[in-house]
Symmetry: C2
Subunit: 211 residues, 2 copies
DNA sequence: GTCTATAAACAGATAGAC
DNA sequence: GTCTATCTGTTTATAGAC
């Protein structure tokens, strides 16, 4: 019966997705530590609690798996920027954006590291996204910020460099947490320390621009 | 004759150092792209224009070479912070520090990336330096900045987070140059763009603190 | 679908000629 | 000192039992 077959197919499909999801999550942890070349399929298998060959049942090869991990990470990684628009209050909009970036870095440090590794290695799998959708998105937000300046709502500042500064800081507290912890004995997991980091960013990157 | 032998030994030694230097420079390029595990000795050999086995004549194994590269990078990487002291004018001192960090990132992007990769992978070879000399250095500079605040020379700010913000930005323009170039079509090699980056950092991280 | 066993390719390191 | 050839251990990927 067609209806039953369809239901079974959906269940199977959902099951496959869950299995793939499990592998992708394990792969994210390993790839984010060692990069594409440095990561070992054996380590991913161990992390996922399955056999190495089982991974190859779901993913053709290492690179296909890597790209699947990147795609999962990317969508959520670039989304908060989209929220900013010209009708918002500048202080509130920028503050919300920075908070969202901090929140993501804290929630998904592995995703942050993987993104950083990919970019630092020349973004071989990501360059089209950077040059296409991300570039358009940034250009759009630059004109929003320029609009605020033109309306005398914030002090003059280079919009694109402001965006880069925000990216720099939020990425740094996540990716360099080892150094930060070694030097200061704190990480973003410490609430007071996290508040200090965020407050300093707001003070330097937002409040300093408010007239 | 003793004098002649000594001279020959020194020449040999200098020659060995030059050879080692050549290998280290090639290794820096490869390690900074792929990290310790991801890098291939074959790639380093090719970059150095010698055979793979020749590298092993000068360096016992891959890790010894990696540590030699790290040591070369590290000394110059952490030095500019030392210059800051309480008797300087705050604006000038911070500005000079930021300029020095930008200059280094521009001059040695590979060194910057290698340092970032090592930190992101848990700093297995660098942790003692971070927890020892770097931590002491930072603590010292925090008290310099706190001194400026106490003397009402700059606005109140979290000194350690200010330092982290400066590190974040200078590291970012170097390590994420691929993303920056993809998005903005410029790099720090473009003088006008580099000036825009530096000016924005000074505006946000220094001038905003001046009373 | 998942596993064990194994093939095939690769990479670090060594041996030995020159 | 530098190279080519090779050894040895790993690692990706496949074959085949269950």
């Amino acid at each position: 019966m067609a209806k039953k077959e369809l239901k079974e197919e959906m269940e199977t499909s959902a099951k496959i997705l869950r299995k793939k999801e499990n592998i992708i999550n394990a792969a994210l942890i390993i790839f984010s530590q060692d990069g594409l070349n440095g990561a070992r399929m054996e380590s991913i298998a161990k992390e996922a609690n399955i056999s190495k060959s089982n991974i190859f049942y779901y993913f053709q090869n290492k690179e296909v798996l890597y790209i699947a991990v990147l795609e999962k990470v990317l969508s959520e990684w670039l989304s908060p920027l989209s929220e900013i628009n010209i009708n918002q209050d500048p202080k509130k909009a920028l503050q919300t954006y920075i908070e969202a970036k901090y929140e993501m870095s804290k929630k998904s440090p592995a995703a942050s590291r993987l993104y950083a590794l990919e970019i630092m290695q020349g973004a071989p799998h990501l360059m089209p996204v950077l040059k296409g959708p991300l570039k358009r998105l940034v250009r759009e937000k630059v004109s929003v910020i320029d609009g605020w300046i033109a309306e005398n709502k914030i002090k003059p500042v280079s919009a694109i460099h402001l965006i880069f500064h925000i990216w720099a800081v939020t990425q740094h507290y996540s990716d360099f947490s080892n150094q930060i912890e070694a030097v200061s004995s704190h990480t973003l997991r410490n609430k007071k320390f996290a508040k200090g980091a965020l407050d300093t960013s707001i003070q330097l990157l937002v409040d300093s621009l408010i007239l």
